[in-house]
């Protein structure tokens, strides 16, 4: 007998003024009791939609669901309201992506777990339910569970909130746990802890797991079976080792090839030996940016927070410095200070020998074109109401030197250079995909011919194949134009693939810095070692 059997599942959503969007089409899979299945795919692959169908969560949303979904003997697509309610939580429990918004902000965490427990144990008294809540909170590793059960979600850290959600799932002793990107919003070290907890709980209770993730590394270490999805359909499925070692389908192969590997050295660029900007030479290049003891404080008085606390950094022409750190490490703040979007509260910031940390907006104007930035969010980094051509032309117009004709020609060149259609000038951001918009952002940064480009998480919002393309583009452009790059990211593997030197930050300070391979292969600081160990690996 199988725990989950899905046959011919199709889910489509009605869309205003168009044909319905087919999110999942003709999908079939099965899971044995106690087994673990990973559903992986890029955005739009339909992986979450498929997972939601396991609990009948599409009911009442206007979505059309066809095919059969059976979970532990319950026909989810045909079940009535009452049966569905017993399935949800009691038979199959779900853990969501964003642990902060997934809990009621107004109620104590323990009460929320107790409430759900009583839905599935009608006879249980309030007191018994509360005791059960404390018990499961303790089980998932919340210290001092009896007291913490009375706290509200905002008093928990991100990782603890996700533990609490898992505790809610465990409380009802379900036979299946459906986890939708359970660690995507978490830092890599916390991710490792949560994944470890899930493994332990499975061993202990024998419950099955359906793990939905975009991260092949996360899937690799935590499931037995793998289902690769693309465009709503299954591409390939099988035992996880086999799929990852010997993928049969070209798409799976591409996907695997695109995954950045933290254990692999940066590929030497094809022409690096012949160009003066190769890592070995660039270390001798002139220093463009010299930061000494840079500080940034937000707020005043007792409530002030020091985001960056005495960071020193040198950036030479033609080199890439990677900055890695978890959330709250101050890496983004540092990046914004380097291009002077923020004024440092202390320390020195020199650009080509000239102190720019204290300059006013007016005096900065002559430096603006040389210090540019590529932003993280492909949605908010382009003005939705202006065509991409205008956005790219902005810095050229602001310089005010060239004629309109020259500007248009230059924008077309730039669009072509970043791999877009030069005729895209008059199109608007919403007509582009995330990766394309990021290319537009790069073109805009390059427009004024900068010397330094700070890239703040430039690929973290992108799918892994797009990520690889954008990273490759940045590398090419750097070599071609001799740019100095600062590459800020939380993803250690991506940083290794692009950086000559790496800076590891935590709590606003630099813990370790050095040549990339040295830091990754012989980390000196225990924190760096912990970070590297926590990175999930595909191979």
């Amino acid at each position: 007998m199988t725990l989950v059997s899905v046959e011919g599942l199709s889910v489509s959503f009605p869309s205003a003024g168009g044909p319905p969007v087919r999110a999942v089409e003709d999908l079939s899979f099965a899971l044995a009791p106690g087994g673990a299945l990973g559903i992986v795919g890029e955005s739009g692959s339909g992986k979450s939609t498929a997972a939601y169908a396991l609990l009948g969560l599409h009911r009442g949303t206007g979505a059309r669901v066809a095919g059969t979904v059976r979970v532990a003997g319950h026909d989810v697509t045909a079940a009535d309201e009452a049966e569905l309610r017993t399935v949800r939580g009691g038979v199959a429990a779900m853990v969501f992506q964003d642990p902060l918004s997934s809990l009621d902000p107004y109620q104590a965490v323990g009460d929320q777990i107790a409430e759900v427990y009583r839905v599935h144990h009608r006879g249980a008294s309030r007191r018994a339910a509360r005791e059960r809540a404390v018990e499961v909170l303790d089980r998932v590793g919340i210290p001092d569970a009896a007291r913490r059960a009375r706290s509200r979600p905002h008093e928990f850290s991100g990782g603890q909130r996700q533990r609490a959600l898992i505790a809610m799932a465990v409380a009802c002793e379900p036979r299946l746990l459906v986890a939708d990107e359970p660690t995507t919003a978490l830092d890599v070290t916390v991710q490792a802890q949560i994944l470890g907890l899930l493994r332990e709980l499975r061993e202990e209770t024998g419950m099955g797991l359906v793990l939905v993730t975009h991260d092949l590394g996360v899937a690799a270490g935590n499931v037995d079976e793998l289902l690769v999805m693309r465009g709503g359909r299954a591409v390939e499925s099988g035992p996880v080792r086999e799929v990852l070692r010997a993928p049969r389908e070209p798409y799976t192969r591409d996907l695997l090839a695109a995954v950045p590997r933290v254990e692999v050295r940066r590929e030497p660029s094809p022409s690096s030996s012949s160009l003066p900007s190769s890592p070995s030479v660039s270390a001798e290049g002139p220093a463009l940016i010299e930061a000494t003891g840079l500080r940034q404080e937000f707020g005043r008085g007792r409530r002030s927070v020091t985001a960056v606390d005495g960071v020193s950094l040198t950036l030479r022409a033609g080199e890439t410095v990677g900055v890695v750190g978890e959330s709250g490490s101050g890496k983004t703040t540092l990046g914004r200070m380097l291009v002077r979007l923020l004024r440092p509260s202390g320390g020195e910031l020199r650009y080509r020998g000239r102190e720019i940390g204290t300059l006013g907006e007016r005096e900065l104007r002559s430096f603006r074109s040389e210090l540019q930035m590529v932003f993280q969010d492909p949605v908010s980094s382009l003005n939705p109401r202006r065509s991409v051509g205008e956005s790219i032309a902005d810095p050229l117009r602001a310089a005010g030197r060239t004629s309109e004709k020259e500007i248009v020609a230059r924008v077309r060149d730039l669009l072509e250079r970043v791999g877009l259609d030069p005729d895209a000038y008059h199109r608007y951001p919403h007509e582009f995909s995330g990766g394309q918009r990021q290319r537009v952002g790069i073109a805009r940064a390059l427009a004024p011919s900068p010397k330094v480009v700070v890239c703040d998480e430039p690929v973290s919002a992108l799918d892994v194949t797009t990520q690889a393309q954008v990273v490759a583009l940045l590398g090419e452009l750097q070599r071609e134009l001799g740019l100095a790059l600062v590459f800020i990211a939380h993803d250690l593997a991506v940083v290794r693939q692009v950086s000559d030197r790496v800076v590891v930050m935590r709590g606003g300070r630099v813990l370790e810095h050095g040549p990339a391979d040295a830091v990754y292969e012989r980390p000196e600081h225990p924190y760096t070692r912990g970070l590297l160990e926590a990175v999930p690996r595909v191979g």
């Binding site: 739009g44 949303t61 932003f375 969010d377 949605v379 902005d394 951001p429 919002a461």
Partner: protein
Amino acid sequence: MTSLLTAPARPAGAEAGAAAPASAARRVLRRLRARKAALAAAAVLALLVLLALAAPLLAALEGQDPTTYHDGLVDSARGGVPVGPFGGIDAEHWLGVEPGTGRDLFVRLLYGARVSLAVAAGATLVQVVVGVAVGLAAALGNRLADSVLSHLTDVMVALPLLVFAIAVTAVAPADLPRPLLLVVVIGLIAWGAMARLVRAQALSLLKLDYVSAARLTGASTWRIARRELLPGLAAPVITYAAVMLPQNMLNEASMSFLGVGIKPPTPSWGQMLSSATTWFRADPLYVVLPALMLFVTTFAFTVLGDTVRAALDPREESRLRVGRERRKGGSS
């Protein structure tokens, strides 16, 4: 079960970004057209504006004017009730006459429409201009400017409009035309909410990366405000103005009702209602007509404002999309 379960909707559409500009106006119009109520409301308002504009023409057609007394048409023995059925409706006076004075009701209602519409539109315009200016200045200015303007805004929001407006009319120069006075008084007192909205909206836009990108081009504050902020503010400002307009109409009517707004002989619906309260037993039509006009107008404006709000509400379309894409990784 329910229509609100937020299962991941429209996964394939997740790539399309926030509200699109070129097609946005068209999409809003399409959504407005899709609502019959909005169409009906717009038609009613168009008719009203037309009637108001054509008031002198229609008055000439009827052969009456808004200020002439007709003592013969009211029964002074019965306290001034109009002679004849239904408040004295006849071929000369299409909607009857005013009790007590015998002035023509049809023409007075039409001229009242002119006053109501003009004051409401004018006051809204003043509120929008002041609100946008103060809100933008607070958002873009330094800490001191923001603090001062925000506190001022707080005071203006807290100020009881009617109380203060009435008080101001007490000392206003007597030779100032009353409609103009009301436009200025209502407009200059009730801009706080608009300023607050603009400041909040501008601050959230300022946090977006495209504004940072504009700063990196070396653009001046003014240029950023004009090119990056104002277009993004248009939708919420229009929406809110559409909500304020009927409220301003009611403000004028309220003040005229209290006898501190439009002064006779200039007709105004609120003022007519005020004198009608003493006549509602003897001449119900005299109450019903201005009440109906005022209600229909404000209701039509409210319906229209509400549909504009719904049609422009970016949350209706993009809340899920934007929210999902912002997160790291991105799920389907």
